[in-house]
């Protein structure tokens, strides 16, 4: 960079900062804050202040539906309760099931699709755009509509499955059955978000220079060997990034699933965010749910930081 500096850049560098400052009236540092300040202020007001407030509330027994009751400081009692609450552990298990299976399916299907698209057949760009469409839609509206597709008799999903497997379309209920509901949400999320993983993998595949394969070909490496020693390792950092994004998003999952199953039947699809909503906005246990919110945030943040470290190691290789 530096050796290619243009004439004006070199001139600017030659000008002593003091001179520049008096000429422009404002120092660069003051200008920088003028540019960045509003954003930081907004985030402090609508992100950081509420976060601090949540931390404070998590140590109290406050209930947002009772204005006049005295707020008592209860120390770590809310946290104790959160961590020993069976409902919350069940919600965490449901979330884990959802996160793990959506990631597994999306990685497998997404990578395969990207690999096939990378064969650059005629019209591949057009079909890529078609495949990408679901992920940009409103999750709540999509979830709502999938309840229609999942209807036991009249639903298209059941009709298609019935037609393909020969079972009676009225004999199974995707969102009403305790065993099937956790898979019903996995299917919809996979339908919606596989293109995301696919796009990132595609970028990874396209970043591999052709000469690497040409060299392998000269060394007479088999296609199988090339796939495992070139394609996979070089796409891996991209794939891991996709997994990071999907992991964070699905750990927070609310809109799609709340519209699809509402957490039911019973509470088998009650993911962490849905449970949190119930505690905070239906039972109005504000203090308790604040503690749960902090636990969730720390979990996401902690897992994401560990993961990013691993990702950076893979990148360095």
């Amino acid at each position: 960079m530096t050796d290619k500096a243009s004439v004006p850049e070199r001139m600017v560098r030659a000008t002593p900062p003091g001179v520049a400052r008096t000429v422009r009236g404002l120092s660069d540092r003051a200008l920088a804050w003028l540019f960045i300040g509003p954003t930081i202020l907004l985030l402090l007001a609508i992100n950081i202040f509420p976060l601090l407030w949540t931390i404070y509330l998590s140590f109290t027994n406050y209930r947002a539906n009772r204005f006049n009751r005295d707020v008592e400081w209860v120390g770590l009692r809310n946290y104790e309760r959160v961590l020993t609450d069976d409902d919350i552990w069940q919600a965490m298990q449901a979330t884990a099931h959802f996160v793990v299976w959506t990631i597994v399916l999306q990685v497998l299907i997404g990578f395969t699709l990207a690999w096939l698209i990378n064969a650059k057949f005629r019209g591949s760009n057009f079909w890529t755009t078609i495949i990408v469409l679901p992920m940009m839609l409103s999750p709540a509206v999509v979830g709502n509509f999938w309840t229609f597709l999942y209807q036991p008799q009249i639903g298209l999903f059941n009709a298609v499955v019935g037609f393909l497997t020969g079972t009676d379309p009225a004999s199974f209920e995707m969102i009403g059955d305790v065993d099937l509901a956790p898979w019903a949400i996995v299917i919809v999320d996979t339908w919606m978000w596989t293109p995301f993983v696919m796009l990132i993998c595609l970028a990874g595949l396209r970043s591999i220079p052709a000469y690497v394969y040409e060299a392998a070909e000269i060394d007479r490496a088999s296609a199988w060997r090339q796939f495992w020693t070139i394609t996979v390792p070089m796409v891996l950092p991209f794939l891991m990034l996709a997994v990071l994004f999907r992991g964070i998003e699905n750990f927070k999952m609310f809109d799609l699933v709340v519209q699809l199953t509402g957490g039911g039947p019973g509470s088998v699809t009650e993911l962490a965010s849905i449970n949190l909503k119930r505690e905070a906005f239906e039972k109005w246990r504000t203090g308790y749910s604040s503690a749960f919110a902090i636990v969730l945030f720390v979990t996401v943040f902690g897992l994401a930081s560990i993961y990013v470290k691993a990702l950076n190691k893979v990148k360095e290789r």
């Binding site: 004006p8 079909w127 469409l133 229609f148 394969y213 504000t286 996401v300």
Partner: protein
Amino acid sequence: MSATSVTEPTGRVKWIAGIVVVGYALVTLIPMVWIMLTGFKTPSDAISYPPKLVFQPTVEGYVNLFTTRTRMTPEQIEGLGPAENFAQEIVRERGMVIVGASRFGERFLNSIIIGFGSTFLSILLGTLAAYGFSRFKVPLTDDLMFFILSTRMMPPIAVAIPIFLMYRTLGLSDTHLGMILLYTAVNISLAVWLLKGFIDEIPREYEEAALIDGYTRFQAFWKVVLPQAATGIASTAIFCLIFAWNEYAFAVLLTSGNAQTAPPFIPTIIGVGGLDWPAVAAGATIFLLPVLVFTVVLRKHLLRGITFGAVRK
């Protein structure tokens, strides 16, 4: 060995790849096509068993979506005289008359106001901040950028608890301004990250030449950098708009009537005896179509947008 490059897939491989990908694309389209088709069915066609592929199209769903109706006896309807328009005619065939507009129009308008308002604010603040981070030596740039990104890791419901209390105190609950500010705060991380990437790509030499020509910093930003970043700003804006448009969690918790957007409203459209599926489908179609169009427009920058600029093609 043929004369073509060894890394180029053979014709047969291309064929197989093409067939699998096209097959997947067609399957993936089915739910979306089904939504659109259902919007043009009668309520009884929509819930027929087995599901109907061939049907007599009608705009009844769309009429129901935009109107409220009341049931009347045939004699009462007879007494009203001839139907004034096609919508009246469709509704009267069901033994009902239109008594007014539904709230879908308002909710849709709310989505537009809040979507565009928050997009404008996000882009305004985001462009300034991105320029600041890109061009000035800001202390702790990396930490601040990470801080901006980390605001995205909170589950929306967790943020909604204090926001709910704060808005209740400030009188911002269920107002357009409250929702615009909230969506701006959520979108600003995306805007700053994406725009910083775009502005980083503009050579500094342009501005420096302008500064030497006697432009102030701000003039250089306004007249040199902004036009160069126009494409980036436009695609960032569309991403912010799509997010605000699709958002559900905050909307359902913090709005009830006045500022409610379309996503929480569409699933609640009730007809006679349960959900009015053709009307729900019509609402979903109208609501999803703009996003489909934007996605096609954006396809070149899509990857960059959805990964906060981490992956650039």
